[in-house]
């Protein structure tokens, strides 16, 4: 409830505090839909793709794949209709940025979609929004109604003769539908079980047609790139990771919330300068830097720039930029219980390594937390996680294995103390 505007804003979110920005008139007053008009009336589709490619925009859904390159994979010509799928299935624990981009900036995202549709000559976009996001879903629906009434979308987009329809579908509670081929299966009215690749979605996507899947935030950046040019965009962030992103900070900080900052901003700066530092005067223990799938960093390693080229050196990744902060009272075995329960619950069950592995990880970690584990159990955890990684149809098993590997890498002592004491040695830790 209530308005959740980022504490720090930049070009994506600067107008999110203005109520009329959510409406077509207010969006247009601030230059909205001019980038799409420019693209559709003065640029060829290839020129648009080349512009996005030149900007270096990386997908903001977690994998960081270059967006313009992805667009260029779409086949040109032929008689098959081409589709776009907009991934609004934000469900990565620690991530809550797409929600605000939908609630306060639905037109901004739709403008990016129309520009992408022109670049890829796509006839239809399916926006797949998680079912729990009733509020954001309503924002998208209102913006779509305005766009159709104003002739921005539909049979004659912006009066240019270009046709593009946008369909909103609500999901129904399944983390795996955020995986791009799980999303495509779900769009087709099936269980969201990811597909084997190849064929990739650009060849065989939604309903068997060439499809490009991009995240809400990725599309939201596009109009700014078209308006100001790739060089302007590269003025934000690092050489390899340009632009801003919306970091979400949660957990034990004084000021949890959203912060739009350039990629490459230091993690310690985000936590201590922007999010008010650790709450209640406590010391920091560890930080998950990019949503729960990403390996944790101990307090001593947060002097790192938030971009993949730097985070990889510390064996973790940017993911969705969801920063989960844990103070000195936190039992990392308990945190691992919560993490592995989630992955056990959300595994789609297709691949044995994942279906069984996520369950084993959770069971063994729960046993250790209860004080009934052995030192051998700790080695078994590492063994299972290693055998899950890279062994399945999609990256979910990696996402389940990495956080456990990170915990064992940096907080093995917490696990060993449980075994030695026969109980949880962190009496002040959060309740399970």
């Amino acid at each position: 409830m209530g308005l959740k505007v980022p504490f720090v804003t930049s070009y994506l979110t600067e107008h999110f505090g203005d109520d009329d920005f959510t409406k077509l008139e207010g969006y247009r007053k601030r230059g909205g839909w001019e980038a799409a008009r420019k693209a559709l009336t003065t640029m060829t589709p290839d020129e648009v793709t080349e512009t996005v490619k030149a900007s270096g925009l990386q997908g903001r859904g977690g994998a960081g794949f270059p967006a313009g390159l992805k667009w260029s994979f779409m086949p040109k010509g032929g008689d098959k209709p081409r589709y776009i799928a907009c991934n609004a299935d934000e469900s990565e624990p620690g991530s809550f940025k797409d929600r605000i981009l939908l609630e306060r900036g639905a037109h901004q995202m739709l403008e990016g979609i129309l520009i992408g549709a022109w670049a890829m000559q796509a006839e239809k976009t399916f926006i797949y929004c998680r079912g729990e996001y009733a509020g954001p879903g309503a924002s998208i629906r209102r913006a779509l109604e305005e766009c159709y009434a104003a002739g921005i979308l539909g049979a004659n987009c912006l009066g240019t003769g270009f046709c593009h329809d946008v369909v909103l579908m609500l999901g129904a509670g399944a983390y795996i539908c955020g995986e791009e081929t799980g999303l495509l299966e779900s769009l087709e009215g099936k269980k969201g079980q990811p597909r084997k690749k190849p064929p990739f979605p650009a060849q065989h996507g939604a309903f068997g047609m060439p499809t490009t899947v991009n995240n809400v935030e990725t599309f939201s950046h596009v109009r700014h790139i078209l308006n100001h040019g790739p060089e302007w965009f590269k003025g934000f962030g690092t050489d390899k990771s340009p632009g801003t992103t919306i970091f979400g900070v949660s957990g034990h900080v004084a000021r949890p919330g959203l912060f739009e900052l350039p990629l490459g901003t230091r993690l310690d700066e985000i936590i201590f300068e922007h999010a008010g530092g650790v709450a209640n005067g406590r010391k920091l223990k560890g930080v998950i830097p990019g949503g729960m799938s990403m390996p944790i960093l101990p307090a001593g390693q947060i002097d790192v720039q938030m971009a993949n080229e730097f985070l990889r050196e510390r064996k973790t990744m940017l993911g969705t930029g969801g920063i989960i902060v844990m103070d000195e009272t936190t039992c990392m075995v308990r945190a691992s219980c919560v993490i592995t329960y989630f992955f056990r619950d959300e595994s789609c069950g297709q691949c044995t390594q994942c279906r069984e592995g996520t369950g084993w990880l959770h069971k063994i970690i729960t046993r250790i937390e209860r004080g009934a584990g052995s030192m051998e159990d700790i080695d078994i955890l590492a063994d299972i996680a290693g055998k899950m990684e890279g062994a399945t149809i999609c990256a979910f098993a990696d996402a389940a294995a990495w956080p456990v590997q990170g915990m064992l890498r940096h907080f093995r002592e917490d696990f060993e103390l449980h075994v030695k004491h026969g109980k949880c040695p962190f009496p002040e830790s959060f309740e399970l």
Partner: protein, 155 residues
Amino acid sequence: MVISEETRAKIEAEIAKYPQRRGGLLPALHLVQKEKGWISLETAQELAGIFGIKPVDVMEVVSFYSMFYDRPQGRHHVHVCTNLPCSLRGSRDLLRGLEAHLGVEAGETTLDGRITLGHEECLGACGYSPMMRVDETYHEDLDLASAREIVDGLK
């Protein structure tokens, strides 16, 4: 016939948006559940007829997604997020408190059929925790007192 004419018309309108009829199945399940509260075998059979698929094809979709229910539910859903960011800020205590207040455990429905209490995985409100979803509405930055007040206001 279990599904009303009105809902059938809405389902057909959804189906028309997709290149294949089955694309309308998730929207149809949402619509039917809005009318019926849950998806019974009879409902699944009728839906299967509308989509030209088998009832089991409908039920396997129902069972895959956590927001579709294959048994009757309370009039309201109260779901507390217990994922890591929320747990760190006391959401488990909040859930325990609501269990005690309502006299049910997570996953159960109150005897008067008023509330089904549950816990949920991340709802995208990590910065505003603890939080709970009541039907379609998010309530954030809660403590037990404010959560109890919200729950008591449900008819």
